[in-house]
């Protein structure tokens, strides 16, 4: 069917509110913990970084650098946030 995962669809369907960073598509337990250590404990903080980078694909590299995500995970997170912004921002 569609190439987006259930997690992606769930995240993009509603305002993120106070969701934990692991609610983002592509961010699992391990990556979530690493992001938490850096101070990105909530999804909106990561959103903040995404917006600071002007919603650019530089965000993918940032994510890779910050928590060691691979390309697939980082792109998934990027797409997720982008779509969320398209719907709610």
């Amino acid at each position: 069917m569609s190439t987006t995962s259930q997690k992606h669809r769930d995240f993009v369907a509603e305002p993120m509110g106070d969701k934990h960073v692991t609610a983002l598509s592509g961010i699992g337990e391990v990556l979530g913990k690493k992001l938490e250590e850096q101070g990105f404990d909530k999804a909106y903080v990561v959103l903040g970084q995404f917006l600071v980078l002007r919603k650019d694909e530089l965000f993918i590299e940032w994510l890779k650098d910050t928590c060691g995500a691979n390309s697939k995970q980082a792109s998934s997170c990027y797409t997720c946030l982008k779509e969320w912004c398209d719907s709610f921002l």
Binding site: R9, V52, R54, D56, L58, W62, D86
Partner: protein, 505 residues
């Protein structure tokens, strides 16, 4: 470098290029208000219609080649505003440069610089008139595309789309042409679509099967009907005509009257016997007539076909006086006879007031009476079979009707499927041309645009549902997804095949 008048910078941005002399002349304006204004005004063109002012904010500042820092850049040494300026010179608009983003922007700068370096070297050897802004243009265009409300499908196709905006620059467009070739693998070319002939073939096979079955069944039923009617007619005939008259009785009762009263010799006994037979024959015919009348509508209102002995005696007396003496003897004969004489003697039995009476076992009835009775009895016995046959005929007619209906529905469904595919593809084409905001179309919208309101609820509902089912399982160029559009969740259809490769059905 070309000698450009500064005024000509107002036509389009892409032709702005300053010679070193001009640079020195307008050096103060570099990065200053005048140049920025020229760039802003130059930037107003139909290609750059954006709802956001980002392009203007991000107006690239021109740094001619001979002033540009040489490569490789000692990026780590750059302060933030320098970094920002450098990035802007490449047309890249950085966000706030902070601790978290600094490293990223430095890497970006390095990447951009090396790209531009290689490009400019190439450009210098091939096209001396190549200008700086072309790469910047691409960057900004790239940004513009990402700012559009677009679904981010696979990134190669993302690049593929930007080529449509590339109007002037041919050598940069080579890059994009490369993407064009490897953008989408031609895996859809061998796709066997449901052409009209295929659909027709599918329809035809089911039709043939139905017709065959139909024919077999009707043939079987027809033969059954014929057989049954033949059987009925034969039975009626048999009952009407009668399975052979009892010749014996007739023979037994033919004789000559002889006067042999009182004598007991063999001849006389034979004669007596003959007379008795004659009597009996008369009696027989009388009784048969009575019985026939009684059976066939009873015109004389008899209570039964059994005539009492006295009545028979009186009748016979009327016929022939000599019969009265021989009556008792005749009765004895009837009782003792082993052969079937056609007359039955009914004893009084236990019923009170019953008399000894005589009855004919072979009532004599008229032809019409016999025929009608025969038909009646045959029909009543064959009733079950006739009923069964009628039911089977009815079932066959119903089945035929049903098959025809199903066939029609299937035809309608395939027709609808074709229309839906056309509609979804057109929607995609419109989106590609920029007439539609989203690449997918909600399923209810498609339904509402194809089916008029009066048919939506009842008539086309089943056909529509079947068509949707068919599409989700048998059409691979259309993908069914769930999306939120304007706050409401919809099941949508998305056309997935690139426009150039689609078939012509």
């Amino acid at each position: 470098m070309r000698n450009e008048q500064p005024g000509s910078a107002q036509t389009t941005v892409s032709t702005v290029l300053l010679s070193p002399r001009q640079f020195h002349k307008y050096g103060a304006a570099l990065g200053g208000e005048i140049l920025n204004k020229m760039l802003e005004e130059g930037g107003k063109g139909p290609r750059f219609n954006l709802p956001f002012p980002t392009w203007r904010q991000c107006a690239p500042t021109l740094i001619p080649r001979n002033v540009r820092p040489r490569f490789p850049i000692m990026a780590s040494a750059l302060p933030d505003d320098e970094l920002r300026r450098e990035l802007k010179s490449f047309g890249f608009c950085p966000g706030p440069i902070s601790d978290s983003t600094r490293k990223l922007y430095l890497n970006k700068l390095k990447k951009l610089a090396s790209e531009n370096y290689s490009k400019s070297r190439f450009a210098r050897t091939q096209r001396p008139h190549k200008h700086v802004l072309s790469s910047q243009q691409h960057q900004t265009q790239h940004r513009h595309d990402s700012l559009r409300l677009r679904e981010n499908s696979a990134s190669p196709s993302h690049r593929y789309r930007t080529s449509s905006f590339n109007q002037q620059d041919s050598d940069e467009s080579d890059d994009y042409e490369a993407y064009l070739h490897c953008a989408r693998p031609a895996d859809n070319v061998n796709f066997t679509s449901y052409t009209k002939e295929d659909l027709q073939k599918r329809c035809d096979s089911t039709v043939k099967q139905n017709v065959f079955l139909d024919r077999q069944l009707s043939l079987a039923l027809l033969t059954c009907t014929l057989v049954l009617s033949a059987v009925i007619i034969w039975l009626v005939y048999v009952k009407t005509v009668g399975l052979g008259q009892n010749k014996d009785v007739e023979n037994n009762l033919k004789m000559l009257p002889v006067d042999c009263k009182g004598k007991t010799d063999t001849y006389c006994r034979a004669e007596e016997h003959k007379v008795h037979m004659q009597l009996l024959s008369e009696l027989y015919s009388f009784l048969a007539k009575v019985a026939g009348d009684f059976e066939c509508g009873n015109p004389s209102d008899l209570k039964s076909k059994c005539i009492s002995v006295d009545d028979a005696k009186s009748y016979l007396a009327i016929l022939n006086g000599g019969y009265t003496d021989r009556f008792e003897a005749a009765l004895q004969m009837i009782v003792q006879s082993k052969r079937d004489l056609g007359i039955r003697v009914v004893e009084p039995g236990s019923a009170p007031g019953a008399v000894r009476c005589l009855e004919s076992s072979q009532p004599q009835m008229g032809f019409m009476c016999r025929f009608s009775r025969a038909v009646f009895s045959v029909m009543s016995r064959m009733f079950i079979f006739v009923l069964a046959l009628g039911v089977l005929w009815g079932v066959l007619i119903l089945l035929r009707y049903r098959w025809r209906r199903l066939q029609e529905e299937e035809q309608a469904m395939y027709e609808l499927v074709k229309r839906i595919i056309g509609e979804v593809r057109d929607h995609y084409k419109d989106w590609d041309q920029g007439l539609e905001p989203i690449p997918y179309v909600p399923i209810p919208h498609v339904r509402d645009s194809l089916i008029p309101p009066q048919n939506r609820q009842r008539r086309m509902r089943r056909i529509w549902d079947r068509a949707v089912e068919f599409l989700s399982s048998n059409e691979s160029r259309i993908r069914t997804e769930t999306h939120r559009i304007a706050g409401e969740d919809f099941l949508v259809w998305r056309w997935t095949q690139p426009v150039e490769l689609s078939d012509s059905s």
